[in-house]
Each structure stands twice: as structure tokens, then as C-alpha cells.
Amino acid sequence: MDNALWLNERELACVEKISKDASNEGIMLDFSCPGNAVIPELLNAELKNRDGRGHFVGDYMQTLTYHPGKKSVTTSIMTSKLDETLALQNPYSLILGMFLSAKAISANEIILFVGEDNQFIAQMLNIRIKQLEKMGYFKSYMVDFCVIPIKEEDIKYSQDLSLLSNYKESLSQARSPYQGVEEMWENSKHFILNVETFLNISLIIRNGSGWYKRSGKESNYGSKIFYVRYKEDGCLIEVDMGSTLSEMMVKIEEKINIPQKYVLQIGGNLGCYIKQSQLELEIDFNSFIDAGLLLGAGTVEVFESEKKARKKMESSVLKSHENSCGKCSVCREGTKRLGELVVNNSSSDGLHCFEKINYLGEAIRNSSLCGYGKMAINMIVSAANNQYKV
């Protein structure tokens, strides 16, 4: 399924066709898909949320359908190069994925939070939405689209937004990730996915769950897209779920120059680092969680030395609590205190510290309210493992 998303030929064809022909039946058919057909198709496809936790999107949607109050379909395009590039290259698929989700759960609105630096994307999305609306593509379901620009100083949370919900626990949500939109955030239950997952929804509805399940491996179908960066160079790479990291790196080497010896930091600010000797790790949710890596954020940074990777990771570990919304006790207290244990006590009290981190970390990472706490604690515990384990 190489290039299925970010260079999706049909998407590109659609862009051309839409601008020329308002009555493109193929595209219209996608938008006209009945809401009640969406969830069964996603459940058949066993699509998992690309946020790192790997929950079934169909289950998440189903929970939302029973919620009687206000509902929003929400995503964000903030600091992630992956979100930014995917949205730029697949605006119609993104809009389609969100529109179909809104139909499926009977949402009242569709919200796209877009960072101030990505105002071009905000404008582009607004134009596309108006274009589609004018051409009657949204006739099958009335829903409000809101593209909301967020100033840099208002960003209180800089990770994958989709981590901020727990649909199993009465659709609990963390506090508003951005200042100035608190009311909008709190007055609604959000169906939050990242851009990549919404694009997957579009693909599955267009091509069917059978097609989708032809790639990937059992329990981890489909593909995963990463943004790989080395110094100033960067590129997108799409690999089937179940591939190994070494297979991914072979593809990368064809696209950008990377050093012969390197260490990878996977998952942006919430990911640990991995050495070349560990590259046989399979790309799937459980393997990544066990290794302390975050599959969701999709950012892979290539470092020449472990020292540099560790320095970056330590900075992330110390700052991780700043992203915590502070409501959930273990995330609020744990990310800060355990992070300090990892970084500050490494020299004097190493082994004892390691035991403490493992004891507290293991105990609390499974109990935090939303995905952020789980991922941040997971990263800290893995950092401790990297730090202290021989």
C-alpha cells in the first residue's frame, strides 16, 4: 500500500476533477455514504487510532453515537510536520474523513484547530470546505465546520491532540489544550483523531475494509506514516504495519542522507530513543509501547550519537509535565516527579532510583486518565531503562 495516503493518486485526481467538474459522481458518492454504514466498515477494517494507544476507531465512534449531548469531530494541525504535510497534500480526504465521522456519530460540528504558523493550511482548508459546500457535497448531513486559528502563546499542549480523550471512561477529556477555546472544548464531547487517522477513514470508506486489510498484519492492519528528520533534511515515509524499523530505514536511506551509525528518537517529545541494534523491532502498537516508543506522533529524529539522543530525551522527560492538563493526579504529579528522578538523580543514586521509577512508573502508567499520561509515563520509564540498564 505504498504511498496510499500522502501521494494518493485518487486524491490528486479528485482535486483536479473537483475544480473542473462540480458533479463528480465518484467523490459525491464518498460524501453520500450513509452515516450508519461508516462504523461497521471501520470495525471490519479493524482500524486503530494512530495516536499511539491503538484503540479501535469503530469502538470509539460507537461510544460517541450513544452520547446524548453536544458532539464535535475534532483534529489539530499544530506543530507536527506529519499532520501539516498530510493535510496539505490530502485536504479533501481529511475533510471527507471528518465529515463521514460527523455523520456516523451525529456530531454537531467539525473543528480543525490550526496553529498560527500554518495559516496557509487554515486558509486552504477553509476554501476547500466552502468549495465543497457550494457544490452540495455536504447536503447529506448538516454540520458546522470551524477552522480555528490558535496563536502560539495559546498553545498549552503540543502533542497529538487525540491522546486527550478516554472514551471508555464516559468519554472523559483532559482540559482544553488551547487557551481561549475552553468553553468550546468543555461544552462538547470530542471525537478526536489525528490527521492520519481521518485519512485512513476516508480510504476505508472509499476502498472498503477488505482492501484495507490486505496490507499490514493481523491486529495491525494498514500502514503507518512517519516524518523522518536528520538535521535540516526531512521526508515522509509510509510503511505497512508489521514492517520492521530496519526495513523502514532502508527506504529512508534512498530518500535522504543519513550517517552510517545513528540512534533514532521516535515519537517526538513523547518518545524514547532506540539504537541501531534494536531496529528489528516491528512497527505495531504493542511493540512500540513495550519499547517506550510512541507510534502516534510519527516523528522520527535521526541522531549521530546516543549522547545527543539522550540529551534530547532528557529535555523531553523534564518538560513532559508541562503538557499535562493537571486534572488527573498520576499524570500531574507523576510526570514531573519521575522525570526528575530519571534526569537529576542519575549519578548518585542510580540503582535505587531505577527501582523507584519502575515501581511508581509501572504502577501508574496504566491508570492515568487520558493517553497523554500513559505515553509520558511510558517514555519516562523507558528512559530510565535506557539510563540504568546495562
Binding site: 498549552k156 471508555k168 472523559s172 509535565h321 493526579s329 504529579e333 511508581l360 496504566n366
Partner: protein, 570 residues
């Protein structure tokens, strides 16, 4: 709702599919610890203490927030669960002042301390160093003290203030580790729209929110031989304070309470109930006058100081609709420093009026500018039910074993009508009993007005008295009051008389009542009050011989000049 079957700790249970795992466990006496959960509030799952293991789930789940489903297999005490709970406590106490010796929440009132004992979280084996706690005190409010350093960010005060009371004084502030529950812009409480109801104090699981402490002031007065200490006890206190000594909710412990107060060394024990009967005389007269066109309609009751503050803050356009009567607390204060002082040749300046109330807002009310006559304060100190119980324990008085004693003469006699002031609907019912009797010259003898009873937030009734059709409403909790006021303002609803209590359920659920209760406990308190009323010899306020004597020998007519000066705010 259909029934489901679940397995908890290898035992099978049948429950409704609407239940959370916590609901089912609590119904079946399976202990699950909680810090942020309250049965009357929406669950948020913040504290993570109630986590349990559900088969098939990778992570632990918060039982307060997770709906049970058919076939679910749950473990509430596995090693994974216990380890997680202990770790959560370790994290919380490592960021807590741990000044338990001097904290107000002692003797089982601090849930954090209880759980640390239960889960064997000890200082000696503490895993993390305790952080230095800067004191973050807010003592600005006349009713509530805040110590942010003790706050564990459970969020219950936010929910009760926003959702139950519709005020929203508190909110989460800052992010991450610095997160605190504070007021908007960290304003002192006195500068916010807080109505002093103390519902936040009631739900706080630790000592971060407590009532304004006045015990020391009272002890000083008790020890001063120059002071003539007069105490009054509110109706609801008599049916709630027993809980703090292991007695059943709703049990009338007036006799033991009188005895305990005398053992503490007070000079006279009076009953606020007497003033409640006087209130009915005054408020009833005012209502009749308003019906006759002398004043704005509908008339609102004025007994609840939280409610008065709410109208001042949010709906000042309705201020003239509120009865000008002082509350029973202030009336009794004024009468004891005038009527009682005069008849017993006591210098009113030497009288220290202590009031025992189920309410934190009464502390604020006692300090209001208009609550004085000739610059003599009506009431000098207000203790909540909890504070008095603490004082009794401090003095080692064996409350449960005490013999019943009566009130002192002059301001002690009361009726069943006065006692029901303690519950939502009580003021209205007491007023109706006397107004109906007065307007029909004793022909209409209705005593029990069932339509205004109960804990529902809004109760309405249409009545016909002496050919007059009256529309009345009874509201409790300011969230419900807001909805009603908006309807009155828009013309959607019209009433003649409206009783409003600031706290949900009325005074039996006041901010000064015993802690960690729920509406289930409140219901038992209410039942106790109605039992007392039913068995009372006198059930109408105007039948109280002492009330009649006060009017005949001192006040003159209800609503007269002297009564107005002493017993009304303006």
C-alpha cells in the same frame, strides 16, 4: 434499563446497565477508595484511586466513570490495582504539607489520611522526597478558609460550585505540576461572586477548604467571667450533630445538645426555633400586606443568607421582592440582647451571642452591616455543627451518654412549624399553616402541605385560601433558583410566594453540616425533622405561647414599629 450480570472478585452480581462499576461495588459493600467521587456530583475520574482491573482491558479503569456491561469480569483488589492506588497516594502525599497535627481535618475527616493508613503509605518508607510547600492561604472570606497547599486537585469544589450551585467561583488554574484549583485570576474569595454557602467545604476531601474558624473566639468567651454567653441552636443542627457522635442521621438530639452546651459553660441555651416562629409572625404579616398591594410580588423568603447574597450578586433587580425580615438567627440574636436582656436586667453589651448553625453563610450574615441594633451586633460568633462537635470532643464531653436537658426560659419554647425550617419547604409550610389559619379566622386548619415537601429542587403548588388563589414555589440550591428567577423575569412563571434555600435540600444539607454526606443521608435528616413535627404538641407558629407573650409584653403587633426595628433589615 435492562439488567446485566457481572463478576466482581469471582462473585456474580446482577445490576442495571446504567450502573458504573463503582455503583455496583458500593451497593454490594465492596470497598473501593475514592477521593474525587461524590454520589451527588458528576464523575470526572481525576484522582485515579478507584481504578480496577477489567478483563480484556490493557489499562486499569476508573470504576467511577466506567459503565458496567454484561459479562464484565472485574478485579477490585488485585496486586496491580493495589500497587497503582498506593503509588497514587505516594505521589499525592509527596506534594502535600502533611501537617496533620495542626490540620482542621482530623479524626477520620481527611480522606487522604484515611487512605494512607489503609494502603500503608508511611512517612518512613516514603518513596519520593516531600516537596517544600509554600503556604497559599486565602483568609479573606468571612465564611471559608482556603489553603491551596493542601489541595489535591480533585475538582469536587469546582463541580459543586458550578453544577449544583451554578456559580462557578473555582476553576483549574495553571497547567501540569503547577495545576491548582483557584478562583479566576487567583482573586481572594471575598472579591469573587462566592455566596458563602460552603458546599465546597462539604465536598473537600482534605483540609484545603474549611469553614472560618471561630472555636478559639468562643473558648475565650467561655473563659471570660465578665461575659454572659447565650447560645442558640438552629433546627437542622438538632437532627444532624448526632451523626458526629455515631448516632443516626435525622435523630433529634436536642436534649443532649442542650446538656452538652451547659456542660461547656454557657449561661443560657435558647432555641433558634423560637425565632423561626417569630419569623412566621413577621413574614406572614408582610405577605398579607404585600398581597394587599403594599410591596412587590412574588415575595421571596429571607432566611438563607447564601440566597440573599446570590440575589445581590446575580439578580439585584429582585432585591425588593425579598422579605425584609431578618433570618431566625438574627432575630433571636436581637431578641436576646433586647427582650431577654431587659427582662433579666443583663447589660446587652456583656451578652455574647453564640449561634450554632448548619451553615457557613451564617458567619457572613452575622457580620453584615445591617445586622445590628443601636450598634450592638445581633450575633457575636457562629459555629458550624462540625465546629461545635469538635469543641464538645475537645472538652471530653460524652455526648452520647448525656441526659436530655431542656432549653432555658424566655427564648426556648417552639413549635413543629419552626423545626421544619431546617428542610426545604419548611418555611413555606410553616407560613401556610399560620397564614391560612389567620386569613380564614381559624376555619382552614390544614397542617400538612405535602406538595411543598421533599428534596426535589423545585416544587410548585396552587392553593386556595380564603377565596384567594395562590401560586407558590419552593426552590433549593442556587442553580434551581437561577432557572426559576429567569422564568419569573421572562413572565413564563408567576407566583405569589417563593421559598428559596441556598443549599440543595435546605439547611439539613448546609455547608456547616457533617461532612461527606449525600442526598441519601439528607433524606434521613429530613424524615427525622418531619417525625418531630408530627409528634409536636404545637404545630403552628402563632400557637407558640412564648411568641404571643413576647408580642404582648414587648414587641407589640407583628410588623409593628418595634418589631420592625428589631426584626427587619430595613
Amino acid at each position: 434499563m435492562e439488567n446485566i450480570n457481572v463478576t466482581i472478585n469471582k462473585q456474580n452480581y446482577t445490576a442495571s446497565e446504567a450502573n458504573t462499576i463503582l455503583d455496583i461495588c458500593q451497593k454490594n459493600n465492596i470497598d473501593i477508595p475514592t477521593l474525587c467521587h461524590h454520589p451527588d456530583l458528576r464523575s470526572e475520574g481525576n484522582c485515579r484511586m478507584c481504578v480496577v482491573e477489567v478483563k480484556g482491558e490493557r489499562d486499569l479503569v476508573a470504576s467511577c466513570n466506567m459503565k458496567a456491561s454484561n459479562g464484565m469480569i472485574i478485579e477490585t483488589g488485585s496486586s496491580k490495582v493495589l500497587k497503582s492506588r498506593k503509588a497514587t497516594l505516594e505521589l499525592l502525599i509527596a506534594n502535600h504539607p502533611n501537617d496533620c497535627l495542626t490540620c482542621d481535618r482530623t479524626s477520620g475527616e481527611c480522606k487522604l489520611q484515611d487512605l494512607c493508613y489503609q494502603y500503608d503509605v508511611t512517612r518512613s518508607e516514603q518513596i519520593l522526597d516531600t516537596l517544600e510547600q509554600p503556604k497559599m492561604m486565602d483568609l479573606s472570606s468571612p465564611s471559608i478558609e482556603r489553603d491551596l497547599s493542601k489541595c489535591i486537585v480533585c475538582g469536587k469544589c469546582i463541580r459543586v460550585c458550578r453544577e449544583t450551585q451554578d456559580i462557578g467561583v473555582y476553576q483549574y488554574q495553571e497547567r501540569g505540576f503547577k495545576t491548582v484549583v483557584s478562583t479566576k485570576g487567583h482573586e481572594p474569595l471575598i472579591d469573587t461572586n462566592c455566596i458563602n454557602c460552603g458546599q465546597c467545604v462539604k465536598v473537600c476531601p482534605v483540609g484545603a477548604l474549611i469553614e472560618k474558624q471561630e472555636i478559639r473566639k468562643v473558648i475565650d468567651a467561655l473563659r471570660d467571667p465578665e461575659v454572659h454567653l447565650v447560645v442558640q441552636t438552629a433546627p437542622a443542627v438538632k437532627h444532624t450533630i448526632g451523626e458526629l457522635f455515631g448516632m443516626a442521621p435525622g435523630e433529634d438530639v436536642s436534649g443532649k445538645l442542650n446538656s452538652a452546651l451547659k456542660k461547656l459553660g454557657v449561661d443560657k441555651v435558647f432555641s433558634t426555633d423560637l425565632a423561626a416562629d417569630v419569623t412566621i409572625m413577621e413574614e406572614g404579616m408582610e405577605f398579607i400586606q404585600r398581597i394587599e398591594g403594599k410591596g412587590k410580588m412574588p415575595m421571596f423568603t429571607s432566611c438563607s443568607p447564601g440566597w440573599i447574597k446570590y440575589v445581590e450578586n446575580e439578580f439585584p433587580q429582585f432585591l425588593d421582592n425579598i422579605s425584609t425580615c431578618k433570618s431566625p438567627q438574627q432575630m433571636l440574636g436581637a431578641l436576646s440582647k433586647s427582650f431577654y436582656a431587659q427582662k433579666n436586667h443583663v447589660d446587652p453589651h456583656k451578652i455574647f451571642n453564640l449561634s450554632i448553625m448548619p451553615c457557613t453563610a451564617k458567619k457572613y450574615e452575622a457580620q453584615r452591616k445591617e445586622m445590628a441594633v443601636n450598634e450592638i451586633r445581633d450575633v457575636d460568633a457562629v459555629l458550624t455543627t462540625r465546629e461545635l462537635a469538635r469543641l464538645i470532643k475537645l472538652e471530653k464531653i460524652p455526648f452520647k451518654q448525656l441526659r436530655d436537658e431542656t432549653y432555658d426560659d424566655f427564648l426556648g419554647e417552639h413549635t413543629g412549624a419552626a423545626r421544619i425550617f431546617g428542610t426545604s419547604g419548611g418555611v413555606m409550610e410553616a407560613a401556610l399553616r399560620s397564614v391560612a389559619w389567620t386569613l380564614t379566622d381559624g376555619v382552614l386548619e390544614d397542617i400538612d402541605y405535602e406538595k411543598v415537601r421533599g428534596l426535589e429542587n423545585v416544587k410548585e403548588a396552587d392553593l386556595e385560601i380564603a377565596g384567594m388563589k395562590l401560586k407558590i414555589a419552593v426552590v433549593n440550591g442556587t442553580a434551581a433558583a437561577r432557572r426559576l428567577l429567569e422564568k419569573i423575569e421572562s413572565g413564563e412563571k408567576e407566583y405569589h410566594f417563593v421559598e428559596v434555600m441556598g443549599c440543595p435540600g435546605g439547611c439539613i444539607n448546609g455547608g456547616g453540616a457533617p461532612l461527606q454526606d449525600s442526598m441519601a443521608t439528607v433524606k434521613k435528616r429530613m424524615e427525622g425533622i418531619y417525625r418531630m413535627d408530627k409528634n409536636a404538641e404545637l404545630r403552628r407558629s402563632h400557637e407558640n405561647p412564648l411568641v404571643n407573650q413576647i408580642y404582648e409584653t414587648y414587641l407589640g403587633e407583628p410588623g409593628g414599629v418595634k418589631a420592625h426595628k428589631l426584626l427587619h433589615t430595613h
